[in-house]
């Protein structure tokens, strides 16, 4: 099952809040000085910000039968390929990669892929979570 493609802008204020929350201060993400910056030539977003633009709530908002509150994440795979500049708008493609049952629980693997403004695949996320039971 594939979800409608959507776009998300990694605004500087969002990245600033994200960096504060995860206590990340690497110069890759913060250094504006030209003489010290990374090989990319400009600050980039932490690759794990794919966790901001590919979330179940963003992806699943397009479907009718939304899950109840309380998704529990049990597994995660990230693949990182290309940088995303702070302020860039990524295009997100998402799909259900797998569904399975284990010990009476329903597991979902949600795949999300972010493409940067250069058309490069920046990062891929495979989120495994338990679909909450209706109570």
């Amino acid at each position: 099952m594939e979800f409608p493609t959507y776009r998300y802008t990694l605004r500087p204020d969002i990245i600033k809040t994200y960096l504060e929350a995860v206590e990340e201060s690497d110069s890759l993400y913060t250094d504006e000085e030209q003489d010290t910056q990374s090989l990319f030539g400009h600050p980039v977003v932490p690759p794990t910000t794919i966790a901001i633009y590919v979330t179940p709530s963003r992806v699943l908002k397009t479907i009718k039968n939304k899950p109840p509150s309380g998704l529990i994440q049990t597994g995660q795979r990230f693949e990182f390929y290309h940088p995303i500049r702070i302020g860039e708008t990524v295009t997100v493609k998402a799909s259900i990669d797998d569904l399975y049952q284990k010990k009476g629980r329903n597991y979902v693997v949600l795949k999300g892929e972010g493409v940067n403004e250069q058309g490069q695949r920046a990062a891929v996320s495979y989120l495994t979570f338990i679909w909450p039971s209706q109570s």
């Binding site: 890759l28 794990t48 309380g70 990230f78």
Partner: protein
């Protein structure tokens, strides 16, 4: 430019310099604000009391960012252009938990001109319980 690790500088069995993080509800709230993902299990104590956890818990993604911090600290641009993290989340992380983030080189090989290095990675809480376990690798 920040100095990163080179493949020749690290051998199988060697551990990365660990990180330590203290989780607070304030940090959780800040993360949720950035992610705009208002799952009540993270931010609503009254809702959380009625769950099996009896408390709010940190978003898994927030905790996994610490592993990425360790890898980008040591591998810089290479982590962003060739990193893979594959982990299982075993236990919830609560406000007040002290997390210890670590990694040990499990495999290192060179094929043609490309290096592949793979680490066992973990996050443990203050009770020395595994919270997250898995692997993180870099190809370059």
């Amino acid at each position: 430019m920040k100095t990163r690790l080179e493949p020749d500088e690290i051998g199988v069995g060697q551990e990365l310099h660990p990180l330590k993080k203290i989780i607070t509800q304030e940090k959780i709230n800040t993360y949720v604000s950035a992610a705009e993902d208002y799952n009540p299990i993270h931010v609503d104590p009254e809702f959380a009391k009625k769950t099996p956890f009896k408390s709010t818990i940190a978003p898994g993604y927030q905790v996994l960012a610490y592993l990425s911090e360790m890898m980008s600290r040591d591998f810089g641009e290479k982590w962003i252009t060739g990193g893979v993290m594959d982990v299982r989340l075993l236990k919830p992380v609560f406000p007040g938990d002290e997390l210890h983030i670590g990694g040990r080189l499990a495999e290192k090989k060179k094929e043609k001109s490309a290096y592949f290095i793979s680490f066992e990675v973990w996050i443990k809480n203050q009770r020395d319980e595994d919270v997250v376990v898995g692997h993180a690798s870099v190809t370059y």
